[in-house]
């Protein structure tokens, strides 16, 4: 163990030390922006200064080798400044328009795509998955790679009806904005936790385990000094496992992913919306999850064909109605789509207004 020498609570580096001079000078004085080509923005300030941004797709999971290569480019083209976006893309900040082309050429050599602006598919917000988390029902990085390979053309171009925000979360904890994404891929469990009765009372407190279940499915089992699960009430949320490792929820046979659609976050036009269930289950099929990739593609294609200019996925669906969404995508509607949790009733169609 190293000696404690470090200062604590110093907080993050002050952002002002991280800003390129042009940003400092024009801080709060930007007048407007334009998208020059996919992935390339120019922001013009009130006094006419121009800041060029080149946005670059990132796998997010990066070695320090790659980070250093990116730094090399930022040193070469951007006086040693760069930033990352809230969706984990890399942004190179240039003052000299003529450097854009050479930068993009260098990026191409490294295999890094430029895009993600305007009506494009941005980078996928995602989480750890099998790579680093213990509760994952699926992997994240692998699915993301497979989907982004497939949606690549929509990242490097701006030919979609609107922005497309895809997210992946590897379990119901939903780290990431899965619950409000245009398309969300979510790792789910489908079976009741397997209780390790031997271990349970050693590693967990029984009242805590009982209390962890949102549906009240867990009851004490005093005989065994353990708990039992009412199978009919369990909806496989995994919260008991989060609280107690002896409630093993992982199940390679039955875990997989669900797909939800139509969420958004911005307040533009329509209020923020939750993503809603489109496909209850697709199998985990590593390394490239073909069923998932195909399902996403189908939804995206249908949206492209059918949406009006500027309509986010959810706005499109709300206009045509969910009955048409299922019809047009060919996705089967099942009882699983019907909410049966706390706020279910307001989702039931209490009107004769529907399309036959």
């Amino acid at each position: 163990m190293a000696k404690v020498v470090a200062k604590t609570d110093i907080g993050p580096p002050h952002y002002s030390n991280m800003l390129p001079p042009i940003v400092k000078e024009n801080y709060g004085k930007w007048a407007y922006h334009e998208i020059l080509t996919p992935g390339v923005l120019v922001h013009v300030s009130e006094n006419g200064d121009k800041l060029y941004t080149v946005r670059v797709g990132s796998p997010r999971l990066m070695s320090i080798l790659m980070v250093r290569e990116i730094c090399d480019l930022a040193d070469k083209y951007c006086d040693g400044y760069l930033r990352f976006t809230s969706r984990h893309n890399i942004e190179f900040l240039l003052t000299d328009e003529s450097k854009i082309e050479p930068l993009i050429a260098d990026l191409e050599k490294m295999g890094l795509p430029v895009g993600g602006t305007g009506h494009s598919a941005s980078n996928i917000i995602h989480t750890q998955g099998w790579l680093h988390c213990h509760t994952a029902a699926t992997d994240a990085s692998g699915i993301v790679k497979a989907i982004m390979d497939d949606l690549y053309e929509y990242f490097v171009d701006m030919k979609l009806p609107a922005k497309l925000k895809v997210a992946v979360a590897c379990c119901l904890n939903m780290c990431g904005a899965v619950h409000c994404s245009d398309i969300a891929i979510l790792g789910i469990h489908r079976t009741v936790p397997k209780i390790d009765h031997e271990r349970l009372h050693q590693v967990c407190e029984i009242p805590t385990v009982v209390a962890s279940c949102p549906t009240g499915a867990i009851r004490p089992d005093p005989k065994r000094k353990s708990v039992k699960v009412n199978e009919e009430k369990c909806m496989y949320c995994g919260n008991c496992y989060t609280m107690c490792p002896a409630m093993q929820i992982m199940d390679p046979e039955n875990d997989g992913v669900a797909i939800m659609v139509g969420g958004k976050v911005s307040n533009a036009r329509t209020a923020p919306m939750f993503s809603r269930l489109a496909i209850p289950f697709l199998p985990n099929n590593p390394p490239r999850w073909p069923e998932v990739v195909e399902a996403v593609r189908n939804i995206v294609d249908t949206w492209i064909r059918d949406a009006r200019e500027g309509e986010r996925v959810g706005e499109w669906i709300e206009r045509i109605g969910w009955e048409r969404f299922f019809e047009k995508t060919g996705i089967p509607f099942t009882e699983k789509h019907i909410d049966d949790y706390i706020f279910s009733v307001p989702t039931f169609r209490s009107t004769t207004q529907f399309k036959s």
Partner: protein
């Protein structure tokens, strides 16, 4: 009846709307119960407090409901309303009457009751307000002899009711009156002998205008609608336009799905976008009509606020043909009641039970196919249940 008896209520003799106080006074002159009724109400107006006791169980032979027991909490002061039970008399479909039938009702009530009535109660029955216990059976006998029967009360099927429908409305997509009568006759036992967890109401509207407020006030709403495209008479459209009617502003712009276009004097419909809301038809009844393929949407769960909040009925069958003998509908109702009866707690309306156990259990039990028309939108949470047969076991 001396005026000073009811100084507060006398204030309600003023004003242009018909005064129930005037009318009750008239009745009170002939019937001491009606007089005590008004005096007791005056007492409530003074005290700001109801003067009826918690109901008791009263009834007539062979029936479990149909009479609401009511006792005053001041029997000494108001002896004629000491016992003051009401009859719920099942109305004819659509509330049509001959004066002959109405006069018979009045005669019966003159003999056995207070002479005060409600035409009608909000479930739909004729309410005969206030009779003593000893008159109940005789009153019922007289009603029955005159062709009337009791409606529902307690944990039973309540008196079904229906809008005027094909009797006087061009929008009717189903025969509301016949269906209402048919169901009422088919389910006499369910109406008269309470046997369920709680009440169950059926209301029938001929079209989505829902002139009986079925969607809000019945556990089971039958609402007429159509499947194909609504019908447009372009000549009549022209007439509206010529008469100066603002077709664009008042009709086209208000279509909730923007399914209409008005161009070059023609009103065109995109049939697959229309959600049959009735608005355009309502505004231009001479030019527009429902389509030809008529039937009904069935909705479940409507109720007032006790206990889990008010529910509006929600769609369980988007479209069913509605032709006598209505067997498909009746079978469905029986399956619903069976499931509810088996699973419902005391005082749990069917909608609350579905909320508690989930639509999937309901749909499976009654054998209905899930369709997206059942929901405004699918679930936003990932808490999906799987049937054991759909998955293997963990580990």
């Amino acid at each position: 009846m001396a005026d000073k008896e009811t100084p507060l209520l006398d204030e309600l003799e003023k004003g242009p709307w018909p005064s129930f106080v005037k009318d009750m006074k008239r009745m009170g002159e002939k019937n001491p119960a009606a007089r005590d009724h008004l005096r007791l109400l005056e007492k409530s107006y003074e005290d700001k407090l109801v003067h009826w006791k918690h109901g008791g169980i009263v009834g007539v032979q062979g029936y479990g409901g149909g009479v609401i027991g009511r006792y005053s909490d001041m029997p000494e002061e108001f002896p004629h309303v000491r016992e003051f039970h009401t009859f719920r008399v099942n109305q004819p479909s659509g509330w049509f009457y001959t004066t002959e039938a109405l006069r018979k009702l009045c005669d019966v009530w003159e003999t056995y009751g207070s002479g005060m009535t409600n035409f009608h109660g909000s479930t739909g029955d004729v309410i005969l307000l206030g009779a003593p216990t000893e008159n109940l059976q005789a009153c019922f006998n007289a009603l029955s002899e005159n062709g009337f029967d009791l409606g529902g009360s307690g944990s039973d099927l309540r008196t079904p009711s229906a809008c005027v429908g094909p009797a006087r409305c061009e929008y009717a997509c189903i025969d509301t009156l016949d269906l209402c009568h048919d169901l009422t006759m088919e389910f006499q036992d369910e109406i008269h002998r309470p046997m369920w967890p709680y009440k169950f109401k059926i209301k029938i509207a001929g079209c989505p205008n829902d002139c009986v407020a079925a969607i809000a006030r019945s556990d089971f709403s039958i609402i007429g609608t159509w499947k194909d495209a609504l019908k447009i008479d372009q000549d009549a459209v022209k007439e509206y336009a010529e008469a100066g009617f603002d077709i664009q502003g008042l009709v086209v712009d208000k279509c909730p799905t923007k399914a209409l276009k008005y161009e070059g004097g023609r009103l065109e419909l995109v049939p697959e976008d229309c959600t049959k809301c009735m608005h355009c038809i309502n505004k231009m009844p001479k030019a527009l009509r429902p389509g030809d393929e008529k039937g009904a949407a069935l909705l479940i769960g409507g109720k007032a606020t006790i206990l889990q909040s008010a529910f509006l009925s929600w769609v369980i069958v988007p479209w069913m043909e509605m032709k006598p003998p209505y067997d498909e509908l009746k079978d469905l109702l029986r399956r619903i009641w069976e499931w509810w009866d088996e699973n419902g707690k005391v005082r749990e309306r069917v909608g609350e039970l579905i909320y508690r156990l989930g639509m999937r259990n309901f749909l499976k039990a009654v054998g209905l196919k899930p369709v997206p028309q059942m929901v405004f939108r699918p679930r936003a949470n990932p808490y999906i249940f799987w049937w054991p047969e759909e998955v293997g076991k963990n580990g």
